[in-house]
Symmetry: C2
Subunit: 514 residues, 2 copies
């Protein structure tokens, strides 16, 4: 569970003035301990938590290995629902994207003498796109500009302009190694010291708490309202900001994940205007994590609006409102997590800060070029009339429709279970059902030195091979229990997947009946 | 030039106890300034310097753009010798590597119905390797294990075992997004607070100074001796450590770049033993940047030894000596910079620290998979008998021989110039000649508000289009002037490249003759 940041802030004040080194007794050559231990290492590293890859997934990996030789586990494979990693669960990549990527890897194929053979394996528009990209890139093996290849940033700017109807400048776009890398850079530069405060949603994607821990900024939580489908009330933001300021926190930024992770809600335009107005009044930089912008399952009632678009629509009074928006190739129907690609758009950011961001990007030289190529393809896909368009359209639509069906199916399954309620996903890739656990289950968890939700999830993993993440990894209202599950298992396995969960749940509830 | 770390340490003591926020006047909604400015941002970001992508390359980029429309510059292209980026200067990638990478991108090609066509474009061993890799990876679009794909870590371990003759454990290997990312993680975890001290060579690759600035550790410089071909004397290390300790620095680690960057020296085994003994006596973790391990130009007299090998050869007394070793796909004859791949081997590192390293790696999910694939190929290339071996051998040898020739040619060129002396490169990709500048040149630099070496390099860039980096970006003895240049321009252009430098230098020296 998240620390109370304000309490943490106060508790930290002294150690920060006299760093923890005071506790480190200088070791001499005669002692036999290591120089680098968990006692002597960077103290902020210790406090980082990242449940999405924590105890549950580590146990899941061990079970996965065990299954290679041991068939007695009661399930024949581990199903990794702990992380939005579609291709791990056999989601097929978009054919056109991979064709272009493979041609960029092997430019020998593009030589005239290979053209005839090549056309048996590749459509003409994939060849043309690879040629265009290589003209701008040179070689995928060369470091690019530290902000990313200019041609690709131009395409990203065009994509944003078309999406929003407002101008975008390639110079304000940084290509990144996934959204996580962009978030890390922005959170770091926004943190002046341990008093710098960031509003983060609870529940939240633990990238935020982990990154804030690592840079020693203060987490200021605001709660999403489960009873209004994880709605966001600006009054709660205001209360959180005022409370933090009363405790000496220098409020810097508001983090919004829209569509929500792990909660799947999609904000209305009206709500977004209120949020922007709030940031403007309170002088907060807005960090908009919009990586699920195409995972929208109720497009009629809850379409996606970008914060950039809503901000621009609010006119001149808000022209100074600072906004960072993050996007990724890992989500949507693209699902190219392993490539580590994404972008960051900086809106109304001070010019000198832009120079500093560029300098920091330079130290890690450049985002990987194959990730950049996928950003190009995601933001600039085949269009009507291109040879690859029909297949592209069909693939995107079929993944989308299937995700939508699976999201409902899993929500229905959860809602059919005793003591479990689950909001529908308006967007993203996850459900975050609420569990009511018996006293007996809570006691059993305590006896196993686990949080109750962790105990439930661990029991599920041991019984079914399904790996989900306890709500405590994301934060939740005190004394409530949740877990996050993706709805990414393959559709043809989905009924047996739901069946397995149902069976486990029934047995668990029976075993721990009060 | 580097700060005097000890002076810096003392100067920083107060601001660190009362963080710089004290200087930040809290802004209210009525002020019109931005929330995020260079005054309010993370103070450590401000102090980061990274010359390899600093003022010179920024000007070089501008000139490069200008050349598209303006032919009056006196040169027809900008030659980027500021960074070891071989493929930017048209070094051809290794064919087999790219073939495998492109097949992994597009597994459709591997379907039986395409086999006949495919064999017209790909050798059988590239197809077999891609199939093997995909069997272990699944999809290059899926997040992998946060340490990297296990199969590839096994191959890296075998590579290390064959190189060194001592065992290596895949569990001690982290695949990384280039060596820079590995260095960042290790430096971060080793930094307990601002008193944590790292010995870094002067001259050094500015990744180290930048990373240490960013984590607020203390840089403790030791000088390499230009007159003994950038030799390293353990007495100088000892002096630096003692001086730092006298000033309250908590010495943590020694950074060695071998072969040297920017200096190109290659350490003897005897010297490495002394260094390890020194680390052991002084209780310092050894950070060995060994990314240039195959760029060895005097293999008879100065072969490469890894620190791991020398450490293992020293026996049980040193069995606790902690070592991190970094390698990369960006250098050597591979030169795949744009992919961002590398690995980190942890030797004798505390088990609990290993868990913490894994946790931190998990927060950024995984290194990009295409970079991982290249690590597999680099450490496990075609061998005698494989269809691709003859071509692979020929490509590697031809790049190697050409680099060796170019390194001598450029050193000869520099040594033929008035007021310039240059050590030969025993390894790596750079020369670091010493310049004697006239009083008049130094005055002119001052009048242009530049350091003398920056002024020389900027003049070179404006006159020839050749971009090199002033010695001040790497550190140098006070009142000496150097610059770093790669020897990567294409061989068929090399005579005209040297000719251009010679002409510029003559004119510069004549213009500023005292």
């Amino acid at each position: 569970m998240l620390r109370n940041p304000i309490r943490t802030l106060i508790a930290q004040r002294k150690p920060l003035c006299f760093p923890r080194s005071c506790r480190h007794v200088s070791t001499s050559a005669s002692t036999k301990t290591k120089v680098l231990t968990t006692e002597t290492m960077h103290p902020l590293v210790r406090q980082v938590e990242y449940a999405v890859r924590g105890a549950l997934p580590i146990r899941a990996e061990a079970l996965s290995k065990q299954l290679l030789s041991d068939k007695s586990l009661g399930f024949d494979r581990v199903v990794f629902c702990n992380i939005g990693n579609p291709q791990q669960l056999n989601q097929k990549p978009i054919t056109f994207f991979r064709q272009v990527a493979s041609l960029c890897e092997n430019p020998e194929l593009l030589k005239p003498e290979n053209r005839q053979t090549l056309l048996k394996l590749y459509p003409d528009d994939a060849i043309a796109r690879a040629e265009l990209l290589l003209k701008h890139i040179g070689s995928v093996g060369a470091y690019s500009h530290s902000k990313g290849i200019h041609h690709i940033r131009e395409n990203v700017a065009k994509f944003i302009e078309e999406r929003d109807g407002y101008p975008a400048d390639p110079e304000n776009i940084f290509l990144t190694q996934g959204a996580s890398a962009g978030v890390h850079t922005v959170v770091q530069i926004l943190t002046q010291n341990y008093k710098s405060g960031f509003l983060i949603p609870i529940p939240q994607y633990p990238l935020y708490s982990a990154t804030l821990s690592l840079v020693d900024a203060t987490q200021v939580p605001y709660y999403l309202n489960e009873s209004t489908n994880w709605g966001l009330d600006v009054k709660d933001l205001k209360k959180a900001v005022d409370g933090a300021r009363d405790n000496g926190v220098d409020m810097r930024a508001l983090v919004i994940i829209n569509p929500g992770n792990p909660t799947g809600q999609c904000l209305t335009e009206q709500n977004m205007r209120e949020i922007i107005e709030f940031c403007h009044n309170e002088r907060l930089v807005l960090l908009a994590d919009e990586v699920y912008q195409t995972n929208i399952y109720k497009p009629q009632t809850r379409p996606f609006h970008s914060f950039k678009q809503v901000l621009c629509s609010m006119g001149g009074d808000y022209k100074d409102q600072e906004l960072f928006s993050f996007h990724s190739i890992s989500k949507g129907m693209v699902g190219e997590c392993g490539r580590r690609g994404g972008y960051l758009e900086c809106v109304n950011i001070d010019e000198k800060v832009m120079d500093q961001l560029y300098k920091i990007a330079s130290v890690s030289l450049c985002p990987n070029v194959q990730g950049q190529i996928l950003v190009d393809l995601m933001t600039n896909p085949p269009t009507s009339g291109d040879s690859s368009y029909p297949q592209y359209r069909e693939e995107i639509d079929s993944i989308y429709q299937s995700l939508k069906r699976r999201s409902s199916k899993l929500a229905d399954c959860f809602n059919s279970l005793e003591g479990m309620t689950c909001n529908d996903a308006e967007g993203a890739m996850y459900l975050f059902p609420k569990l009511t656990l018996s006293e007996k289950a809570i006691e059993a968890a305590k006896a196993n030195a686990m949080a109750p939700d962790t105990f439930y999830c661990m029991s599920m993993l041991e019984a079914t091979g399904v790996c989900v993440i306890p709500g405590s990894g994301f934060g939740q209202q005190p004394n409530t229990f949740h877990f996050r599950s993706t709805f990414l298992p393959e559709e043809h396995l989905f009924d047996s997947f739901c069946g397995g969960l149902r069976k486990f749940h029934g047995e668990f509830m029976a075993k721990y009946k009060d």
